[in-house]
């Protein structure tokens, strides 16, 4: 079984061969994996240009895919996402590798848990956070056939299996009025472990923008308590929950990567545990929240 990154390269190579509309822009990272192709443009270590070139290709009717390591795809050229793509109303598919703390050992420069919040701050972007390589493939293919602005956040972390259904999927119902735990992307695995044997509903979400406000409202039914588990910066979708439930008294526990300079190396597992995003951490947070209810 291949991980998301290798699956992305496979799909992108195939798309270049099969669809004349597709162009891929890289800034060295991933360039060798994509390989030589007349519509693969490796601009070298120039991320602002990578986004500008993507916009220029879109201007000429192509469907550009831009790919790099998360901080270099989203953070460094952020104003180019805002203007070259957004303000010019040009579409592109941005696919990042190296999620949140995947590069724990590489330190802060290679970590961008702010990515989804930054892209979500710009109007009109669709944001996918697949939890499995098979989901990535589906979402990527779907994105390649469109002409809108899409950000796809790939991660080393994956769930045991793909979740079918797309959109907002309720996987388990609690008793009436029970809290609803919303697992985003690869957090489903620890969420399922943490919620086992507890009276909670569990829902899965891989497309966080636009946020499925109506489906979320419906799924919560008579409940008042929400636990939102996101694998990037904590609270990134908290405002969306607040808007969806604007006329209902509710409580929200938003779990994710804290907004802090976290000066540790080590492994992704260690970071996940330190952020309380492994099964034990989520269990503790869940019990604390439910006990306080």
């Amino acid at each position: 079984m291949t991980g998301m990154r290798e699956r992305f390269y496979e799909v992108a190579r195939k798309a270049l061969d099969d669809d004349d509309r597709i162009a891929v822009v890289t800034a060295q990272i991933g360039a060798d994996a994509i390989g030589e192709h007349p519509r693969h443009f490796d601009v070298g270590i120039r991320e602002q240009l990578m986004i500008g070139v993507a916009a220029g290709l879109a201007l000429e009717g192509y469907r550009p895919v831009a790919h790099s390591y998360t901080p270099f795809l989203v953070e460094r050229p952020w104003e180019f996402l805002k203007l070259d793509l957004g303000h010019n109303d040009l579409g592109a598919v941005l696919v990042s590798t190296g999620a949140s703390y995947d590069a724990a050992r590489s330190g802060r420069t290679h970590q961008a848990p702010e990515d989804v919040a930054l892209v979500a701050a710009l109007p009109g972007w669709t944001i996918h956070v697949p939890g499995h390589a098979a989901e990535l493939e589906t979402l990527l293919r779907q994105s390649l056939s469109g002409d809108d602005r899409v950000y796809i956040r790939m991660s080393d972390e994956e769930n045991h299996a793909r979740v079918d259904g797309g959109g907002f999927t309720v996987l388990r119902h609690g008793s009436p009025g029970a809290p609803l735990v919303v697992a985003v992307g690869p957090t489903l695995r620890p969420v399922l472990e943490a919620s086992a044997g507890r009276d909670v509903g569990v829902a899965y979400l891989a497309t966080v923008r636009p946020f499925p406000r109506e489906a979320f409202r419906d799924a919560l039914a008579d409940g008042t308590d929400v636990v939102l588990v996101e694998p990037y910066q904590a609270g990134t979708s908290a405002a969306e929950v607040a808007v969806a439930l604007r006329d209902r008294p509710h409580r929200l526990l938003a779990l994710g990567v804290p907004n802090a300079e976290f000066r540790h190396y080590g492994t992704g597992e260690e970071h996940r545990a330190a952020h309380g995003l492994d099964a034990a951490g989520i269990t503790g947070s869940l019990d604390g929240f439910l006990g306080a209810g």
């Binding site: 822009v25 602002q48 240009l49 220029g56 203007l83 010019n88 109303d89």
Partner: protein
């Protein structure tokens, strides 16, 4: 993209007056005026693309587009108003004939590279002050290395770069593999000769249009 000429070069001051409300216009206050006129009057073909990266002070651009019948002349009166298609920085979704929304410096050349990579002939206008932005040089380096012959960068040089470009801007483009020359930014014949597509297809090309110091 040029459409049938409706007005001429001598009509531009009148159009500028409608934009700004000022009675008298010294053309030297519009650094890009002559370059833009030559582009739209003599250089750009139907299939060509022009991207104004230097979106600051777009009145000369709007006046030329209006003279060419691309922007409705009536639109000039509302320049900068709430419902106007013409703002202080151009928006391609609002203004007819504007192919790039610009205003934040250092964005156009990268987009121009992307468009030119498809084989499209693209002219992109930047300012010498704008070249202070490092993002331009990502585009200059890459376009030079891959020999992007369908791209022409026009640098309007009125010496407004804060720390200057010792030995000239064109030297920097040359070093990166561009064919660069400096011409008088008010001389229509010289501009036309420099800006017309090169039959030999060499490039990328940089035309530095020298203007009065700001």
């Amino acid at each position: 993209m040029a459409i049938a000429t409706t007005l001429g070069y001598d009509d531009l001051p009148g159009l500028l007056t409608r934009l700004t409300g000022d009675e008298k216009h010294d053309r030297s206050s519009f650094s890009t005026l002559d370059v833009l006129w030559v582009l739209y009057d003599r250089v750009l073909g139907e299939e060509d693309r022009f991207l104004l990266s230097k979106g600051h002070g777009p009145t000369a651009f709007y006046a030329v587009l209006a003279a060419k019948g691309i922007v409705p002349i009536d639109a000039l009166d509302g320049f900068g108003a709430f419902d106007s298609p013409l703002g202080y920085h151009p928006d391609r979704m609002l203004a007819p004939g504007v192919e790039l929304s610009s205003g934040s410096l250092g964005h156009g050349l990268g987009v121009a590279v992307g468009a030119a990579l498809t084989g499209r002939r693209v002219w992109c206008l930047v300012g010498d002050g704008e070249l202070d932005e490092g993002s331009n040089w990502e585009a200059v380096q890459y376009a030079g290395r891959v020999g992007l012959s369908s791209l022409t960068a026009i640098v309007v040089d009125n010496d407004s770069s804060e720390h200057g470009w010792p030995e000239g801007i064109e030297r920097r483009f040359s070093l990166e593999g561009w064919i660069a020359e400096r011409v008088d930014g008010r001389d229509h014949q010289a501009l036309e000769a420099a800006l017309l597509p090169d039959p030999a297809g060499a490039g990328p090309r940089c035309v530095v249009a020298e203007l009065e110091t700001r």
